[in-house]
C-alpha cells in the first residue's frame, strides 16, 4: 500500500472543497450571528437593556415585536391546517381534470415575489379596485384586526397565502405514499370514512403535518416583503430588523435576529422530539372518552353519508380567494390604471405617467431588473455547484444525515435575520470583505439557494434508484467517475434543473434579506416596497404585475421540466 492513488486524492480534495464551501457560504453566517450576539454581549446588553438614554425601551419593543410575530405565525399555521388538511386530502385522493393546474397554483404561492403579492392583496381587499369595486366600498380597512387572535386581518391573509403550501405539499405527499390498504382495512372493519380519517389516516400523517407546519411557521415568522407592503399597522419582528439595520442599530437588530433564529430552531427541535415520541399521540383509555367516542362515531357516520363535495368546495374556494383572486386583480388593475387614475382621472395617477414621467420609475425598474437577474444567476450557479456534490455526500456517507439536518437551518432562519447574519459576517463590522451592495446580496441568496437546489435533487436521486444503476455501471467496467458522469448526472438532470429554477425564482422574489444587505443596488422586490412607501402606487402596481408575470413564466418552465 503506497498511500492514496491519484484519483482518490482528487476525490478527497473535492469532498473537502464542497464541505468548505458549504460551511463558509451557507452555515457560517447564521452561526456568526449567534456567536456575535454572545461574544459582543456587553455591547448588546447596553443597547438593549440599559441604554443610557432610553433604558430598556428596546427590550420592550423587541418583546412586543417578537410576541406579535409569534402570534401571527401561530394563527397562520392554525388556519393553514384548517384549510390545508382538506385540500391535501382532496388532492391526494381525487383524480380530476385540471388537478395539475391546481397543484401549480399552490406551487406559485411558494415562488411568488412576496412584495408583489402584498401589493396584490392590498389592492384586492382595500379600496375600490378589488372586491370592493363590486360592493361599492372597501371590504376591510388595512387596520382591521381579527378579534381573538389579535392580528391584522390582511397580515393573516397574506401569511396564510404564503405559508399554506408547505402544509398542503408535505401532507399530500405523505397521503399519496400511504398505502390505501390501511384506509380500506378500516372501512371493511366497520369504520365510516370520517372515523377512518380520524383514527387511521390522520395519525399516520401527523409527522408530515408537523414538518409542514414547522416550515410554514418559520416562513411566517420570517416573512418580510408582503408584510412591509401592508404597511406599518404593526411591525413584525423581521420588519423591525430591517428598520433597525437602516438606522444602524446593529446590536439591537442582531439580538432580535438571534431570538428569531432561536425561536425557529426550538420549534423545529420540539417537533422532531415530539415525533420521535409517538406515544404522545395515543389517546388515553378513559371511561368517559369511550362515552364521548360513541357520540363522535355516530356523528361521523352521519357526516360520511353526506355529499362530500362540501369540504372540497370550501377549501377550493379559500384557495381561490386568497391566492388566485389577488393575482387576477393585480394583473387586471394594471390595465385599469394604465393611462390615468380611474377615480380621479388624473394622469399623474396613471401607470404611464409614473413610469415615464418625471420620476422615471421605468429606468429604476430596468436597473433593478438587471441587478435582480444578475444576482439570481450568480447565486443560483454557485449554489448549484455546492448543492449537487453535497447531495452525493448526504446520500453516500453516514454523516450525510446530519449534514442534511443542519442544512434545514437556512430554510427556517427568518430572511431578514439571514440578511443581517451575512451583513455582520462579511460586511464592515465583521470580516470587512465587502460593503452592502450586489456582492452581499449574492452571498445572502446563496445561503437559502443551496437547500432549495438540494431538495429536488435529493428527491430525484431517491426516486431514480441511482446507487443501483451506478452499481450496474461499475460492474460493466465503468470507473466511479464515469459512472457518475454517464449514469447519475443525466438521471439527476431534471431534479437539478427543477431545483435551479426554483432557486432562481426564489432569488428573484426575495425581499427581507435583500433589504438588509442591498445598499444602493436595489433589486425589484424591495423596489416595490419603496414605491409603496413613496406612495407611487401605480408604479408599484406595474412592478408587481411584472414580477408576478415573470415568476409565472418561470413556474411554467419548471412545470414543463418536472412533468416530462
Amino acid at each position: 500500500m503506497r498511500g492514496l492513488t491519484a484519483s482518490k486524492t482528487v476525490g478527497l480534495l473535492a469532498i473537502l472543497g464542497v464541505l468548505i464551501g458549504l460551511f463558509v457560504f451557507v452555515l457560517m453566517p447564521t452561526f456568526y450571528l449567534i456567536s456575535f450576539t454572545l461574544t459582543q454581549w456587553n455591547e448588546v446588553y447596553i443597547d438593549v437593556f440599559a441604554n443610557p438614554l432610553i433604558g430598556d425601551t428596546n427590550w420592550q419593543q423587541i418583546l412586543g415585536y417578537l410576541g406579535f410575530s409569534l402570534r401571527l405565525a401561530v394563527a397562520a399555521v392554525i388556519i393553514d391546517f384548517l384549510f390545508g388538511i382538506p385540500l391535501a386530502y382532496f388532492l391526494a385522493y381525487r383524480r380530476f381534470p385540471g388537478k395539475s393546474f391546481l397543484e401549480d397554483i399552490i406551487m406559485l404561492s411558494l415562488v411568488i415575489p412576496t412584495s408583489g403579492f402584498g401589493v396584490a392583496t392590498l389592492l384586492t381587499w382595500t379600496g375600490l379596485s378589488g372586491i370592493g369595486g363590486l360592493i361599492g366600498r372597501s371590504v376591510v380597512e388595512v387596520t382591521y384586526v381579527v378579534p381573538l387572535m389579535n392580528v391584522p386581518f390582511l397580515y393573516l391573509l397574506v401569511h396564510v397565502a404564503l405559508t399554506f403550501p408547505y402544509v398542503v405539499r408535505t401532507l399530500q405527499g405523505k397521503l399519496e405514499d400511504l398505502s390505501p390498504a390501511f384506509g380500506q382495512a378500516s372501512r371493511t372493519l366497520g369504520a365510516s370514512a370520517f372515523t377512518t380519517f380520524r383514527k387511521i389516516i390522520f395519525p399516520l400523517a401527523i409527522p408530515a403535518l408537523f414538518s409542514g407546519g414547522v416550515l410554514a411557521f418559520a416562513r411566517s415568522l420570517g416573512e418580510t416583503g408582503a408584510t412591509m407592503v401592508l404597511g406599518g399597522v404593526m411591525p413584525t419582528a423581521p420588519i423591525a430588523i430591517v428598520r433597525w439595520v437602516s438606522e444602524f442599530k446593529l446590536a439591537t437588530a442582531s439580538f432580535l435576529g438571534f431570538l428569531l433564529i432561536i425561536t425557529a430552531t426550538i420549534a423545529i427541535l420540539l417537533v422532531d422530539l415530539l415525533l420521535q415520541k409517538r406515544s404522545v399521540f395515543r389517546m388515553p383509555r378513559w371511561k368517559f372518552v369511550s362515552k364521548v367516542g360513541k357520540c363522535v362515531l355516530k356523528v361521523e357516520k352521519k357526516l360520511s353519508g353526506r355529499p362530500k363535495w362540501f369540504k372540497d368546495v370550501a377549501s377550493l374556494g379559500t384557495l381561490f380567494i386568497i391566492v388566485i383572486l389577488p393575482i387576477i386583480v393585480v394583473l387586471f388593475s394594471v390595465g385599469v390604471y394604465w393611462s390615468a387614475d380611474p377615480d380621479t382621472g388624473r394622469v399623474q395617477g396613471g401607470v404611464i405617467y409614473q413610469l415615464f414621467g418625471p420620476s422615471n420609475y421605468f429606468n429604476t425598474l430596468m436597473r433593478a431588473t438587471l441587478t435582480s437577474v444578475y444576482v439570481a444567476v450568480i447565486s443560483t450557479y454557485i449554489a448549484a455547484c455546492i448543492a449537487v456534490p453535497s447531495v452525493y455526500m448526504i446520500k453516500r456517507y453516514r454523516a450525510g444525515g446530519l449534514l442534511r439536518y443542519i442544512l434545514r437551518v437556512p430554510l427556517i432562519v427568518p430572511s431578514s435575520a439571514l440578511g443581517l447574519s451575512v451583513l455582520l459576517l462579511w460586511g464592515p463590522s465583521g470580516l470587512n470583505l465587502t460593503t452592502p451592495g450586489i456582492w452581499l446580496i449574492i452571498l445572502t441568496h446563496i445561503v437559502f439557494s443551496v437547500p432549495v437546489v438540494m431538495e429536488p435533487t435529493i428527491a430525484a436521486y431517491e426516486g431514480a434508484g441511482i446507487p443501483s444503476y451506478e452499481g450496474v455501471a461499475r460492474t460493466l467496467g465503468a470507473t466511479p467517475y464515469d459512472a457518475v458522469e454517464t449514469v447519475s448526472l443525466p438521471m439527476l438532470k431534471r431534479g437539478i434543473l427543477a431545483g435551479v429554477i426554483l432557486s432562481f425564482t426564489r432569488s428573484l422574489g426575495e425581499t427581507g434579506a435583500t433589504f438588509v444587505v442591498m445598499g444602493s443596488d436595489v433589486t425589484v422586490p424591495p423596489l416595490v416596497v419603496n414605491m409603496v412607501e413613496a406612495l407611487a402606487f401605480p408604479a408599484a402596481l406595474f412592478a408587481s404585475a411584472y414580477l408576478i408575470a415573470l415568476s409565472l413564466v418561470l413556474l411554467i418552465l419548471f412545470r414543463f421540466l418536472v412533468r416530462k
Binding site: Q184, R187, S192, R278, G293, K298
Partner: protein
C-alpha cells in the same frame, strides 16, 4: 345468512380499455370455503374488492345473504377482509388492531375485551398483545390481521392472497389454520389466490377465472377429474396435449388418430365430432410406463429424452415416435427405473383422458395465461 350472489357483475378500468371483470355470475353458498383462482390479472382481486365495496362495479348486482349491497359502503356490508400485505395499522399495537372493529362499532366494553381476547387466543398471539406490528414476523402479522377481521363479527370473510407474502413452509401451515378457523366459526369464506395447489388443498369449491370471465365452478375433485375446458385441464394440475382427429365415435368412446397415424381411445368426451380436429389431454401422472416390449392399453412408443428426479416423483420427458413430446410423472418409489435414451412404451386408461374439440384460436392461444 352470508351467502354471496353476483349477478352480471362488470368492471373496467382506464376508461373501458381494461376490462377487469366481464359479466360475472357467481353463487357462493352459506358456510362454504370458496376460492377464486386464475392467472395474474384475470380479475380475481377486482371481483373480491367489489364484494367488499372497495371497488364500485360498472354494472351488475351483489347480494350478501338476502341483502342487495351494491350501493352500500364497505363499513355497512358486515365483512372481514384480509389483505396480502396485512395492512395492520402501524400506529396501533396488536390489541388495538384486533379490537378496532368492536371499537368503531361502539360495542360494549366487556364484549370488546372478551372478543379481543378470544380472537387473539385463537391465533395463539394473546401473549403479544402489546407488540407493535413491525416487531412481528410475516406469519404472525397475518394471524393478527385474520383475528382483527374476525373480531369485527363478520360472517363473511374475504381473503386476497392472504398467504402470498409468506414463505412456503409457513404458507402451508397457515392455510390449514385459516380453513379450520372458518369452519369452526361457521363462516363463509371467499379466498383469492393464484396458487392452484393452495386452492385445491383448502376449498370446498373453486371458481377458475380467466380474462375477467369465470370458466368453471366446481369442487377440487371436479376440476381435476372433469375439466370443462382445455385451459382448466392445464391450469389445475398439468396436462399433455396431443393433437389429432376423431376417426370414430361409438357410445361414449372415441377413436382418435394422432399425428403419424397413432390410434388411441378416449372415453371422456367434451364436445368433439367425428372427422374433426381434436385435442387429447392426458395428465402426466395418468400414464403408465413400461419397457418397449411390454403390452399396455392405448400404447404409444417413444424414447426417454430426459429424466428429472424431483423427490416424491420422477419426471420423464419422452419423445414419441410421431415426434410429439410428452411428460410422464411416476412416483419415485413406484418400482420401475429407466435411463435416458431407453426405448419405452407408455399407455393410459381411456377413462383418464379428456378429449376436446380443437380450439378456434389454436391450442397455444387457448393455453395462454393472459
Amino acid at each position: 345468512m352470508p351467502e354471496v350472489t353476483l349477478k352480471n357483475l362488470s368492471k373496467s378500468f382506464a376508461k373501458g380499455r381494461i376490462v377487469a371483470v366481464d359479466k360475472v355470475d357467481l353463487h357462493v353458498k352459506d358456510k362454504e370455503y370458496f376460492s377464486l383462482i386464475g392467472p395474474s390479472g384475470c380479475g380475481k382481486t377486482t371481483t373480491l374488492r367489489m364484494i367488499a365495496g372497495l371497488v364500485e362495479p360498472d354494472e351488475g348486482e351483489i347480494y350478501i345473504g338476502e341483502r342487495l349491497v351494491t350501493d352500500l359502503p364497505p363499513e355497512d356490508r358486515d365483512i372481514g377482509y384480509v389483505f396480502q400485505q396485512y395492512a395492520l395499522f402501524p400506529n396501533m399495537d396488536v390489541w388495538d388492531n384486533v379490537t378496532y372493529g368492536p371499537t368503531v362499532k361502539a360495542w360494549e366494553e366487556k364484549k370488546r375485551e372478551r372478543i379481543g381476547r378470544e380472537m387473539l387466543q385463537m391465533v395463539r398471539l394473546y401473549d403479544r398483545l402489546d407488540a407493535v406490528p413491525q416487531e412481528l414476523s410475516g406469519g404472525m402479522m397475518q394471524r393478527v390481521a385474520l383475528s382483527r377481521a374476525l373480531a369485527a363479527g363478520a360472517e363473511l370473510l374475504l381473503l386476497d392472497e392472504p398467504l402470498g407474502a409468506l414463505d412456503a413452509k409457513i404458507r402451508n401451515e397457515l392455510r390449514y389454520e385459516i380453513r379450520k378457523l372458518v369452519k369452526d366459526l361457521k363462516l363463509t369464506a371467499v379466498h383469492v389466490t393464484h396458487d392452484q395447489a393452495e386452492a385445491m388443498a383448502i376449498s370446498d369449491r373453486i371458481a377458475v377465472m380467466r380474462k375477467g370471465h369465470i370458466l368453471q365452478v366446481g369442487s377440487p375433485y371436479d376440476l381435476y377429474m372433469n375439466p370443462e375446458e382445455i385451459f382448466i385441464a392445464n391450469f389445475i394440475g398439468e396436462s399433455n396435449f396431443l393433437e389429432g382427429k376423431v376417426s370414430h365415435i361409438k357410445d361414449d368412446t372415441a377413436q382418435v388418430s394422432l399425428r403419424g397415424d397413432l390410434e388411441v381411445e378416449s372415453s371422456n368426451i367434451k364436445i368433439a365430432k367425428k372427422g374433426e380436429r381434436a385435442v387429447l389431454a392426458v395428465r402426466p401422472e395418468a400414464f403408465e410406463l413400461a419397457e418397449k416390449t411390454q403390452k399396455l392399453g392405448n400404447a404409444l412408443h417413444g424414447v426417454i429424452e430426459r429424466i428429472r428426479f424431483e423427490g416424491t416423483d420422477i419426471r420423464y420427458e419422452i419423445r414419441l415416435v410421431n415426434d410429439d413430446s410428452i411428460v410422464v410423472v411416476r412416483p419415485s418409489l413406484g418400482g420401475e427405473w429407466f435411463e435416458e435414451n431407453d426405448k419405452v412404451t407408455v399407455g393410459f386408461d381411456p377413462e383418464k383422458s379428456h378429449l376436446f374439440e380443437y380450439p378456434e384460436k389454436g391450442l397455444r392461444a387457448e393455453l395462454e395465461l393472459e
